[in-house]
Assembly symmetry: C2
Homo-oligomer: 226 residues x 2
DNA sequence: AAATAGAATTGACCGCGATCAAGTTTTCCT
DNA sequence: AGGAAAACTTGATCGCGGTCAATTCTATTT
């Protein structure tokens, strides 16, 4: 299922960790990368697997999640085009802790450990980009962990909605990028509670549900004040 | 309070991200690093501060914590000698989200952004070490976040104790490295609950409290089965 | 378009763990 | 060493949010 053609041009040229390089260097990277496609629901890797590739999303999206001992699923994050995963197995030779599942038809590029290490030595600026990305991710994950223990479920839901909004929106309408059950898992609660809390927020006139996946933010300030 | 002497020899030579280099290269790094000492309770940096140094703990320890909107404190992790912090501000030019406070008399070394970037370009293997460390930290933080939402407080406490034990212990006695209130914050609960749960675990004959900070693990397996 | 399965909503219940309060112990400072 | 200030423990209370169950709604498949 590997193809070495057109597919992964964009994989290299679109991606933050490579797109600052010049054309010739990008070509060199394309040589070493391989493409792979997944149907919705297929796993790119699973916990316990040893793997030594960095996986970069080219098209589509991946759901990264973990299972607890009890079998409960926790959504860690969603990878969109340009984002990557696999760094733990890659830099530490440890097994994956996460599952990576295609949420839709998705194509990825993969670079092996030895190829990537050679690239990092040859083009140190790539390391800087990856360091940037990883340090951002550490921060996001620590923020998320802090929210779990210091904020109520209602506050986490409200924060999530406001985060979706971003600073630049005229309409104030957000589109939920996740099924409610995944949203629930991401913010550390259950689908039932998400339903109830959304209803409450609507009764408080803080939001208005437009359709199942569209929500209008009526009062951003008070959402954050809960 | 900066001194450029003996102090930070160990800062470079002891630290995983540098100690694979040869003597001459380490000398070069020592030139660029500066040392600083803090008394117990002093802040190395605080949230909101812009800073462009990487801070490496040389001696002592730092408490990294965050404050939520409501002012509640969340312990993120403890830095021990050889560990570093500041990467978010350093690689992303963002403000600190954490507070870093000396838990005891502590000395650190600091390297500025521009000096570090030069080093990373010159000695790409340093990047690999830092990537290793950061990817481990992403994993730990995601594990922690998963535990908050999928495990009970009792389970988190039990896991914490077992983690302290490590694989190699004859006596099965662990020493709590943190005050109970920090422990509570770290595992996402309150001091009151930690007290109560430790008591319960003792009544179940899973642990035995030796002194305020020493606990004997009586039944590791069942601690993890809760 | 019908059929079937998964997703979402709503209701009833209840247990975990936070909070408040009071008392005890440990640590820190001079 | 002695006193003040934290830290810790224990008890009583209560509310948030998880679980279970029953519909309803929405997709996906043929």
């Amino acid at each position: 299922m590997t193809n070495k053609n057109h597919e992964h041009k964009s994989c290299v040229s679109l991606v933050p960790i490579f797109n600052h390089l010049d054309a010739e260097q990008m070509n060199e990277i394309m040589e070493t990368a391989s493409s792979q496609s997944f149907k919705k629901g297929e796993l790119v890797y699973h916990a316990g697997e040893t793997s030594d590739v960095l996986t970069i999303v080219n098209k589509g999206s991946l759901r990264l999640y973990r299972l607890s001992e009890s079998g409960k699923e926790q959504l860690v994050r969603v990878l969109r085009p340009g984002e990557f995963t696999g760094e733990l197995a890659l830099f530490n030779e440890k097994v994956h802790e996460n599952y990576a599942e295609a949420m839709e038809p998705t194509s990825v590029c993969q670079i092996t450990r030895s190829d990537l290490q050679a690239l990092l030595i040859k083009y140190p600026s790539i390391s800087l980009k990856i360091l940037q990305e990883l340090s951002t991710r550490v921060d996001q994950s620590e923020t998320q962990a802090t929210r779990f223990t210091t904020e109520s479920t209602e506050q986490r839901l409200a924060s999530y909605l406001v985060d979706l909004l971003g600073p630049d929106s005229q309409t104030n309408i957000v589109t939920l990028p996740l099924a409610k059950k995944d949203l629930a898992s991401y913010i550390g609660t259950t689908p039932e509670t998400v339903s109830r809390k959304l209803k409450e927020l609507e009764e408080m006139n803080l939001i208005k549900r437009i359709s199942s996946s569209k929500i209008k933010i009526l009062d951003e300030d008070n959402l954050l004040f809960l």
